[in-house]
Amino acid sequence: MNDWIAIGALALVGLLIPLGMMAVSFLLRPSVPETSKRATYESGEVPTGGTRIRFNIQYYMVALLFLVFDIETVLLFPWAVVYQDALAAEEYGIVHALGPMIAFVVILLIGFAWAWRTGAVQWARTPEQVEAGADR
């Protein structure tokens, strides 16, 4: 039997288990509606304002950076798989098997160093940076 059918079967089981638990819970649980029971939880205080609030831009910056690195891992995996074979083969030496990957990682790390310098992966400014008025 194909591997992916078995994986699909587990995906089905993985859906059926939560759905089954939800069905059992639906049959068991009480429903006692009361006023303000469904209010948003804010540590017992009366909720203030909406929740679609502004949040730190850094969350967006690290997500952008992640995209670059995640694509990079996709590109590196095939290299890792064939690396030993390429070393064993006569026509390529270690320079040919390793060189391009090193060059790739170095370019990536130069970009990362730039992101590091501009503060893309820094959450908060140090007191010195605040004093100098640094823009992150």
């Binding site: 638990m21 649980r29 929740t51 949040f55």
Partner: protein, 361 residues
């Protein structure tokens, strides 16, 4: 270390075929095979469900109690084991309170996404004793990919709850997962350099070859022994990936109540909790498979599942130990450890491994 000729899929007997043989279902053509496959998936799914059932309501409490010198669940059954049943009934029969501003379809889907994505990762893990559901050639990448889906569920939960704590928790969870996913995968890649394949059964087979033969005992070529630096990096990145101490900032009970699960009650809470525990075990399973020889261990091959469970429970114990012993890092520290520390170290590890393997060859 490894000689060309990658294994063809189907060289190892997988669980669906075994069940087909045992039950005689394989005589009934395609329908029988499909049923056998479903039964195998059902078995694997429920095995992991049982693990989390033991871990969540019972082992976690017992372990924390032992660390903090207290007595935990001990009233129901031997060593309080029946608390698992009692807790299952208790949690499922709680009233479901949906916050009034909740974004409905997303709010309901999030627990399912979290729980089922974690379960799916176990499809390609060889658990020993013939419990191995599927063995595609992309095995390792598949587990990483599937484990990553949980981030979507967490941000869904955080955003749709319409709660400030939940929103912050969801955002933190995503920032953390994306920061530590890269070191995790890059360190995993340094193992692939040794194996030359992504197929899980092959990765385990390579590790069972002896590294040093000491006459009486042979030290196996487990990658935790071959490359302990990568093992430590992977272990740390894994704790961050599953959001356990010292990296449990997304939930951080003393800061943001319970993070993305603040507004979840009843069965939804159970499902998110279940998903988290499944993720701890999935992380343990990946560690066991690519660093600790999978189901390998002393004794006959038939008890492989025991060794596998010992290894994943070992990782679980470690998470609980850290939970009791290590303080939580702040969110800014967490991001800086991830991007400035682990990421750089994991690339150093990858390049060094490649250079050393190249020079030896």
């Amino acid at each position: 270390m490894i000689e060309g000729t990658p294994l063809q899929a189907g060289d190892t007997v997988l669980l669906p075929e075994r069940i087909g043989d045992l039950t005689g279902l394989d005589q009934f053509g395609l329908a029988g095979e499909l049923l056998a496959t479903f039964l195998a998936a059902f078995l694997v799914g429920n095995l992991m469900l049982a693990m989390t059932g033991v871990a969540g309501p019972w082992a976690k409490r017992k372990i924390t109690a032992a660390f903090t010198d207290r007595i935990a669940v001990n009233r129901l059954g031997p060593a309080g084991l029946f608390i698992i049943v009692a807790d299952a009934v208790r949690l499922l029969s709680k009233e479901l309170i949906v916050p009034e501003n909740a974004d409905r379809p997303a709010y309901d889907l999030a627990p399912i996404v979290v729980a089922s994505s974690a379960l799916l990762g176990f499809a390609v893990i060889p658990m020993g004793s013939g419990i191995h559901l599927a063995d595609p050639e992309v095995g390792l990448v598949f587990t990483f990919a599937v484990a990553g889906i949980a981030s979507v569920g967490l941000v869904m939960a955080g955003y749709s709850s319409a709660n400030k704590y939940s929103l912050l928790g969801g955002l933190r969870a995503v920032a953390q997962n994306v920061a530590y996913e890269i070191p995790l995968i890059v360190t995993g890649m340094s193992v692939v350099i040794f194996t030359g394949t992504l197929q899980m059964s092959e990765i385990v087979a390579v590790q069972n070859e002896p590294l040093v033969d000491l006459g009486l005992v042979a030290i196996p070529q487990w990658f935790a022994i071959v490359n302990p630096f990568a093992f430590v990096l992977f272990l740390v990145a894994n704790f961050a990936e599953v959001g356990r101490n010292p990296f449990d900032t997304p939930e951080a009970p003393t800061e943001i109540v319970a993070g993305y699960q603040t507004e979840y009650s009843s069965v939804y809470f159970v499902l998110i909790y279940l998903g988290e525990f499944l993720h701890i075990f999935l992380g343990g399973a990946i560690i066991a498979t690519i660093f600790l020889g999978g189901p390998a261990g002393p004794g006959p091959e038939a008890i492989g599942i025991v060794w596998f469970l010992v290894k994943i429970w070992g990782v679980f114990l470690l998470t609980q130990w850290l939970r009791s012993a290590v303080p939580r890092v702040r969110i800014d520290q967490l991001i800086e450890i991830g991007w400035k520390g682990l990421l750089v170290l994991s690339f150093a590890n990858l390049v060094l491994t490649a250079v050393i393997v190249g020079l030896i060859a």
